[in-house]
Subunit: 361 residues, 2 copies
Amino acid sequence: MKTLQVALGDRSYPIYIGQNLLNEPQLLIQHIQADSVCIVTNTTVAPLYLEDVVSTLKDQGLQCETVILPDGESFKTLTVMNQIFDGLLSAKLSRQVTIIALGGGVIGDMAGFAAACYQRGVPFIQIPTTLLSQVDSSVGGKTAVNHALGKNMIGAFYQPQCVIADTATLNTLDDRQLASGLAEVIKYGLINDPDFFTWIEDNISGLVERDPTLLAEAIARSCQDKADVVAQDEREQGVRALLNLGHTFGHAIETGLGYGTYLHGEAIAVGMVMAADLSCRQGWIKKTDVERIKALLSAAHLPVSVEGDLSSEDFMQLMAVDKKVQAGVIRLVLLKGIGQAILSDDYDRDSLAQTLAEFTQ
Amino acid sequence: MKTLQVALGDRSYPIYIGQNLLNEPQLLIQHIQADSVCIVTNTTVAPLYLEDVVSTLKDQGLQCETVILPDGESFKTLTVMNQIFDGLLSAKLSRQVTIIALGGGVIGDMAGFAAACYQRGVPFIQIPTTLLSQVDSSVGGKTAVNHALGKNMIGAFYQPQCVIADTATLNTLDDRQLASGLAEVIKYGLINDPDFFTWIEDNISGLVERDPTLLAEAIARSCQDKADVVAQDEREQGVRALLNLGHTFGHAIETGLGYGTYLHGEAIAVGMVMAADLSCRQGWIKKTDVERIKALLSAAHLPVSVEGDLSSEDFMQLMAVDKKVQAGVIRLVLLKGIGQAILSDDYDRDSLAQTLAEFTQ
């Protein structure tokens, strides 16, 4: 087992990464402060892991309630989140309850936001069961739900007590979900870790084939890269914005085509290609860099173009409500090289228009 | 004009109290950091003050959007709060927007919670227009919405940039709303300020008749008392819980009879009498103290008993979901004297049953 520490002062917490960690109750138990927990999961994950986790907790004499939500990004709404509050209040759980998120990024985001809000804040533990959530949403404390007019528009910064990333849970992922997680892994290489990018290129077949050692290595390196950035800038006043590489484009794709058409990582993969395309039009990176990025994403079984009905104008409108907009200008994360992302509003507007035209109908 | 400072480190903020402060644009403008604002108000307050505030802001060249919610505690829900997000997102307002709450406690709680959540947190200014919100919800950063199973169960601790309490707005309050605010004023005397309690007794007729000098004095003293407590204990780990005198009983009344049947301050008035009754049964305060409290509340035109269909058993059930419950025990704020509140779970369960029986059908 690898243990990383996310350094955030009195909000610091550990991330445990390894095979079969759900079989080690003590990992979980040591982070529960009172006598009740509420596990939030979904209809896909519940049949696989819920019973084991519940019996582990009940064996410790804890009151253990469960809330099972429908599965999918389209259910990441205030209305569905209210089901968590229904469950907590029906069971009369006090502000000492610990909320446990058991599932992917959607469950982590909703359960985390519910924990931030329930009685104005209760402790929270993440057990991410997808590659995407293990490398991304479990690190950094961003929680949120979507709004019809924009993704992740309603949320909180809220840190968990700990994160338990059991690589054994990845065996039950379907191929698209695995690829979606690899998109975020590749993102960390692209942002500021060129050696990691090369390592992923060298090992992409093994990762796609779910070699557990390679996956654990990729998760640990991704979490470490992200934790380093978050420790510098918890509330995204500066450098943390780089983690949004591909996200302004990607969120527009997700919102524009309807949540769930593209998986989050798939949309981010296309978004990263669009960011690379624009960076290339600016003359900041070479055409061969763009090709190298597309080749790696393709090898990870990820899309590199938009398949769907989205006009250039709609795309621009959708980008304009993104959180990265400041004083009416869309700030984008772009590339000055592989492993060298920058946040910039100093790009040519015509180049952006050309990129949008290239990637839309 | 009086200015109080709420001391909370880098979340410190000023409270301005005085007559006709809405006519002094600079007070407001100096706390707005970017070029857009969104005013959240309700159908009662909008016709009275919205136009003036909007034109003040537009005169400064600010983009100024408005969201007008239905009026009343029964609308303090996640669903109605979503209308604020609809307004913010339809107008494409970025995370630099300042949200301004213009109205009573319900508007302050909802707009504040929306500000805490919109894009994971945007700046927020309170312009409370009721006596209750000027002395209570504008100090201390508690924001929330209600859930069908409990009051203020979903929320955040979130501090405003400033609070502007214009006593001229109290002239448009109806008598019940004014009395509801006086309940909280009396509460501060009861908790830890016996001299203030005596001052209120001496001046209750003038307060009821809305003498502006007396009201400004009462607001400033109440805010100071509350600010002192909040500065010691922002997140209610200890002494801040004393501010909930009357609230565990009062919330049960509000939830049990349906939000809106009793105004918040009215329910708190009855709750304080119940807390005094239980304290007296414990032998902690004298019968004459209880009578003195009831006499002052009555002089303020507040109820001192529950009028409505609420059984002792229902009351107990409703109290059991309150946020003050710890390890299954209902901790209550009780009195060891006038001006001497304590948080206690060391009360006789039979005495509580007797108090509930006395005050219910």
